[in-house]
């Protein structure tokens, strides 16, 4: 047997302590950076105008099923380059409970807590460290390995930032990878 994995997404106003989104959606299969904070509207209905930023995308990993331990998490942009005038910002490496990204109400303002420049595709081995914990991505108690079932990654938040030189139309379709081990 193996762990069951899915990406999930928080949206809406920050609520609770530690903060999380008002809405939590399971089984996400894409990340569409767009000019609205939800997981349902087609990106073509709310495109980012050149020079603006997307709302943050607050996704995270959720593990259930059968496993003893989840560990060695890494997160990176691993394939396909972005075009001119586009920068993808992402969460810093999570190396302790205190360094996990904290949820804020998504907005189109440049998020200075997203310090990792994820614009270039890199090998997953060079990705930022991801920690795991019980209850949810927002919860305290994150560690490099976790035996609690279910368990969650820290928030893997990203934001697409643009300048006026960004081309019209869809961006390239890029690959973001979350790597982990299970036993």
């Amino acid at each position: 047997m193996a762990a069951t994995f899915e990406f999930e997404e928080d949206n809406g106003a920050s609520t609770g302590s530690p903060a999380k989104g008002t809405t939590r959606t399971a089984a996400r299969t894409e990340v569409n950076w767009k000019n609205i904070d939800d997981s349902t509207t087609a990106y073509s209905s709310n495109p980012i105008t050149a020079g603006n930023n997307s709302y943050q995308k607050n996704q995270f990993g959720h593990f259930s099923g059968t496993f003893n331990q989840i560990l060695s998490g890494l997160f990176a942009h691993t394939a396909t380059a972005f075009g001119t005038g586009l920068t993808l910002k992402g969460v810093p490496a999570c190396s302790s409970d205190g360094t996990r990204y904290l949820y804020v109400t998504p907005s189109t303002t440049a998020d200075t807590n997203l310090t990792t420049d994820m614009t270039s595709a890199i090998s997953i081995g060079s990705g930022v460290g991801v920690f795991f914990g019980a209850t949810g991505p927002e919860a305290t108690g994150k560690a490099s390995s976790m035996t609690t079932n279910p368990c969650y990654t820290n928030f893997l938040t990203t934001q697409l930032q643009t300048t006026s030189s960004a081309a019209a139309g869809d961006t390239a379709q890029v690959t973001l990878t979350l790597q982990y081990q299970e036993n």
Binding site: N52, T78, G85, T87, A93, T109, T112, S120, S165
Partner: protein, 96 residues
Amino acid sequence: MANYTKDIFCAKCQVITPHKCSIDGNGEFLFECQNVVNDIPCDRFLKLPADHPAESFDEYFEKHKQANEGQISIEEQEKKLSKIFGAPQPVDTPTE
């Protein structure tokens, strides 16, 4: 209009480079890398919110450097490998 530049670490160039400083249409501070390699402009940029306190710009730039120093793109990795080992070998595809 006068040109303003600031030396900031560039995640793509992996060195400190001059960045053109401006304020974009949203009032956000925009810092665009001015480095040109083989006639190709870098094009990487950083943004800070309009209300970001001026006294903490340098603190942010240092965090940005720490978060991105040592990052090697897949393209750069391949360039480095092909320089040492020559052209890559074709990948074997299984036949039926």
